[in-house]
Symmetry: C2
Subunit: 260 residues, 2 copies
Amino acid sequence: MKITVVKIGGNVIDDATALRGFLRSFAALPHHKILVHGGGKIATEIGYKLGIEPNYINGRRITDEATRDLVTMVYAGAINKNIVQLLQAAQCNAIGLTGADGGVIPAALRPVKEVDYGYVGDVVTDQINVALLRALLQLGLTPVFAPLTFNKESGILNTNADTIARELAIALSAVAETDLVYCFEKDGVLSDPSDAASVIPIVTAPIFDTLKKENIVGGGMIPKLENALSAVAAGVKKVTIGSSLHLQELIDGKKGTTIL
Amino acid sequence: MKITVVKIGGNVIDDATALRGFLRSFAALPHHKILVHGGGKIATEIGYKLGIEPNYINGRRITDEATRDLVTMVYAGAINKNIVQLLQAAQCNAIGLTGADGGVIPAALRPVKEVDYGYVGDVVTDQINVALLRALLQLGLTPVFAPLTFNKESGILNTNADTIARELAIALSAVAETDLVYCFEKDGVLSDPSDAASVIPIVTAPIFDTLKKENIVGGGMIPKLENALSAVAAGVKKVTIGSSLHLQELIDGKKGTTIL
């Protein structure tokens, strides 16, 4: 069995045309696949209308109870079911899930240190229900995950979609050859941020060290690459980062940055 | 295989204590089971806050596009995932679904006659994905359905939860002995509406004719009983109507009205 885990973020979700285009390419992928989606602006917009103001500490959103209810409704209801019905229309037998459904993604409530992030879950990777995911894939289904996890004491928990995608890919690597694809707004990791064509095609641990030392990559790309390298170290076959406009080419290694 | 399909309505969903109590009994049922839930007041309340006013024609709510988005968000997100996490906490491996997930419940957009009900779906019973439902049950999962169906042209459709429960039970009857339980706010069908203890224990087609002729049942109970009798005629083993407070007793035939 070969599995591809693909993550899309808010930039695709917030653009109906881009989303449809992306989902058509995703539906056409021939092998077993899992989609993990992020949140998008719609949660914040609906939150404002409902009087739920976003609350940030050090740039991280705090998930209080009202926010948890909001993101559960928006991520698992509005966004997830819209993606599921678009995939169904594109002949892909999608099944929308949160980490609570089938108990697939158990998480620990993030411990309170300097900051209490509220209802935020840290995935317990070795308790991911890999057997169930495998069974769903073998039934011909394509799981579509909202960025929500859970545990029996705390209920639904908010978890970063990049993290969910990574932990799913690591857990699935134990039973199948698993690739991970992160779609974002650029064509890959750029050696020159002002030049969209300067995609670095391959990154390995030694290459990453050089890129960091020579200040070729910086800012938001460092945690993305560290996250990808740690996934590869934990058993994921390869991680590709690139544009949602070129999903098939990312998977074929013709575009984007591949982390090995 | 023996399957019990249970439907709960808004009166239970809107009462957090009643819902927890009901879900504990539901989780404890030993055999294969499926839960179908209705909407509750929360959709209307959130709709008002978002500026989506309910629009009724002849007492039937019209599902325009804004209402469809609202009920998708509230039914499939807020209500469904709350039920799933409560069942998980009660040791029941629930998986929350709409009719779009896994393509389980295809529906036809209701034809426009005198009234255009909007995005309302009429279940196409012989296209229900019984094989998938059976596979999910065999994996030890308990499907929990929001009252939403779909088709590839129209997307997500609003469908009455009583109807979804009935059509699921009919479709499953082809592969397993299937019972259907409707939970509502009374103890069963009453022969005297002012006497909560006057539950009619058994209704068959001839008994129903007598009850109607003698005006013993009326109002809202006639369509409920017709609906139940048609399910039995279509292969469902038995239908029980009674209070969500006594689920196990309803299933054991010790309380409620059983339609045979």
